[in-house]
Amino acid sequence: MLRPAHWMARATAPVDAASLAVARIAFGLVLAGGLVRYLLTGWVDEVFVQPSFFFKYPGFEWVSVPGPTGLYALVGVSLAGALGMALGLFYRVSAALFVGGFAWLNLMDLTNYLNHYYFVLIFGALLGLLPAHRVWSLDARRRPGQGLTVPAWMLWLLRFQIAVVYVHAGLAKVQPDWLLHAQPLSIWMAARTDTAIIGPFLGAPWVAYAMAWTGCLYDLTIVGWLLWKPSRPFAYAAVWVFHAFTHLFFDIGLFPIIMTAVTPLFFAPGWPRRFVRRGREAAQAAVASAARFAPPPRAVVAAALLWCAFQGLWPLRSHVYGGDVLWHEAGMRFAWKVMLREKQGSVTYRVQVPGRARPYEVSPNRYLDWRQHSEMSGQPDLIVQLAHHVEADFRQRGHGDVAVYADAWVSLNGRPPARLLDPTVDLTRLAPDQTGWILPRPDGPPLSARSAVVHPRSVQ
């Protein structure tokens, strides 16, 4: 057991900044590519220009949605920031531009929330705070003499952030739908049977079970394998294979690429120099002779420890709430509960107007596009947000003080649809501490792993 002083000594030991630089370059390039993809696919228009209503994050209602010119400018600023990070040019400013722009883009509409966008934001922010531009950057060319090393704790912090994703993603998979019923993997695999070569076998139940258990074990243990030097190359090969599969089978965009790009941070800090002959010996000598860094200020230590504690504990908050987080969604976001649910809902609002015998029935289609509608219909807090908007819309049309109820039906992982919300509760008058308005998840297992195995003609 090492004492704090020993930990501090190890934390402040100088290590080669090369792996940090490679992570910076890879991260910047991948995110720049992602933003270019956003522009080329027309997603900016579809996601931000066309909708007429946007769901807000609590506390961030003030985040506005610019007009089309502003939106494209915002994407442009983020793109410039990402490229600036990759080049290591005006690094801090570039990182701030990227993180700020990307955060703005993501805070505009809650239905755009993705776990990997959250990872990009926090990893980008951490990377921006660290001197990842110390080597192999234009800043280092502009202002040489910044040194070739960084204190070891900086790499630890980034490794910890990566580990948080894997471990919590693994823990989240330890639940019956995933392990005992191979859902929603079985549903997803059945839709991938046109994949060449292996496709015909993907409908077989054992494949979904094998993938479910392998995925869970991978997430739970990969960090350990990456930390243990003898297994590290094999583990990184597994990272490639795992993320190649996830990229192939699931539309999770940049996530596999980002994780594959940043996971080499687990290798020895000087690993990139093995592939760069020029100046290698001099750099290795300089690293070997570098002086130990001074301990960081206490405020920095405290902030780092607090951050780690938050990242370690916050994803577990759903256990405090009880119930099935996949159903009620409380504690679902910012918790690395990745690829755990196939959830589709149908919501109709019933709006009781004063003086009218029958309530109006309002489809969310009046306010939302297909994508927003699909995201909203399984998430109680979003259903409540739209209920408030419906109330405001009716008030604006002169209907006065209306009550808004929801007929919300949801199918989770193939279960028969069940009511998500109490249809007798006026969603515009929910008290902050009110309970019971979200109904419990129906009993019973999800859809069985498909009975049809491999059709004979499928393997001709």
């Binding site: 997603w43 579809e46 996601v47 993705l114 776990n115 990997h116 549903i187 059945a190 839709a191 049977t193 046109d194 994949t195 060449a196 070569i197 292996i198 496709g199 409908g203 190359p233 094999f234 990184y236 090969a237 490639w240 294979v241 190649a244 990229h247 192939l248 539309d251 999770i252 940049l254 996530f255 290798f267 093995r274 990745v338 690829m339 196939e342 589709q344 809902g345 149908s346 009218r356 029958r358 109006y360 029935e361 309002v362 489809s363 289609n365 297909w370 994508r371 049309r397 039906w409 949801v410 199918s411 193939g414 279960r415 649809p417 859809l447 792993a449 498909r450 009975s451 049809a452 059709h455």
Partner: protein, 399 residues
């Protein structure tokens, strides 16, 4: 130190091997254009074209040709409109069965693979503009060579034709402040002139509908565009599942158009209706009985797409079979029961839909409730079990 270099080379070899393996696997598995039979979902795509789309479109094309013929001798007068109206009713009923078949050339060119916007060219409802049709009668723009190229979709097609064939002979659909009323150009037309223009306009539109219907049939035919073959091999789609997605999107017509616009609006269930009922908001306010016939045909089309064959035709692979493949046989039973309930609720309505909205409000509400049940099953469990991706969901990644 001595062993550092070999270890480094070993690491490099491992990384390169892993990278190459992963890339090879990805590339190999990404090739979805294999000609090999790849399962029941592809079998469905191969079957649904020849067994549902093509015969439905062909039936409509026959009626469209008959409509064109029926309008040839029409003089534009209301008292000689029985035959044209009967032909229009037959054609429109045939088309309503095709409304759920939105994949391929009929569909939006912005949304569907092979989409050529033929549906909107044939029938752009709910984007309609009878006033614009009356304006064209006055300025005779319909006679211009480029009218069909330059007019908006609500200036031609079956929706415009419905106004010409069923609309009041002596009134127009424009507000008083519209130019044709404000400047008196409509009032200046005598009945005979108006009838002559109405007949000529209708004949031109019917010819266009007929030609568009033939084009749609040809686009699906093996001797034409062979979209049925393209769909069957998922050519141009991002895999078989993407083809299934696009075929299934048509089912949502039941939710968005049939339930919310055709029933909820006139029944006063939807807030678009400011009063207790809005019978004037039925799909065909000038053609009694046609709105109900359209609903019936919509449900027939929905069931045909779900079961993979037309009524009375031999059983084929349908979406019901694909749901059963995934173990959701209970869902198939529920869906059939919900379709039967919707048919039953529709059969309980008497007279026209506009009359039923006023005289049988509870029965119309029951019809709405039945379609809502069907819609809920569709939006929740069918989408889940078949892992359908809905339109615009592609405009984002997952998780």
């Amino acid at each position: 130190m001595v062993s550092a270099q070999p270890r480094g080379q070993g690491l490099g070899r491992w990384l390169v091997a892993a990278l190459a393996g992963a890339v090879a696997l990805t590339v190999a598995c990404d090739d979805a254009a294999s000609p090999v039979d790849l399962g029941r979902r592809q079998a469905f795509l191969r079957s649904v074209g020849p067994n549902v789309f093509v015969p439905t479109y062909a039936a409509f094309a026959r009626e469209a040709a008959a409509l064109r013929s029926a309008l040839q001798g029409w003089d534009g007068q209301a008292d000689s409109a029985d035959a044209p109206r009967a032909a229009f009713t037959a054609a429109m009923t045939a088309w309503q069965q095709a409304e759920v078949l939105q994949a391929g050339p009929a569909g939006s060119s912005l949304l569907y693979v092979g989409g050529a916007d033929l549906r909107d060219a044939l029938y752009s409802w709910p984007t309609t503009n009878p006033c614009r049709v009356d304006q064209a009668l006055v300025d005779q723009s319909y006679a211009a060579d480029d009218y069909l190229r330059t007019a908006l979709v609500n200036g031609y097609g079956l929706d415009a034709l419905a106004h010409l064939v069923f609309g009041a002979a002596d009134r127009n659909a424009c507000p008083a402040q519209a130019a044709i009323n404000a400047d008196g150009t409509w009032a200046a037309l005598d009945a005979a002139t108006l009838a002559g223009r109405r007949a000529a306009f209708a004949q031109r539109l019917a010819a266009h509908v007929d030609e568009t219907a033939q084009a749609l049939v040809s686009a699906w035919s093996p001797t034409g565009g062979d979209f049925a073959g393209q769909l069957g091999e998922a050519q141009g789609f991002d895999g078989v599942q993407a083809g299934l997605d696009q075929v299934a999107w048509g089912l949502f017509y039941l939710d968005r158009q049939l339930k919310d616009v055709k029933i909820a609006f006139p029944a006063g269930i939807d807030p678009s209706c400011p009063t207790d009922q809005c019978p004037e908001a039925v799909e065909f306010p000038d053609a009694p009985g046609l709105s109900l016939a359209a609903l019936r045909a919509n449900l027939v089309g929905f069931r045909a797409l779900f079961e993979g064959h037309l009524p009375g035709a031999p059983e084929q692979l349908g979406l019901d079979d694909l749901l059963a493949d995934e173990g959701a046989t209970d869902l198939v039973v529920e869906l059939r029961a919900a379709m039967d309930a919707a048919d039953g609720a529709l059969a309980a309505l008497q007279g026209s839909l506009a009359e039923a909205v006023v005289a049988q409000p509870e029965a119309v509400q029951a019809l709405h409730a039945a379609t809502k049940t069907l819609s809920t099953l569709l939006k929740t469990r069918v989408v889940t079990v078949l892992n359908l991706t809905l339109p615009q969901e592609g405009a984002a990644d997952n998780d």
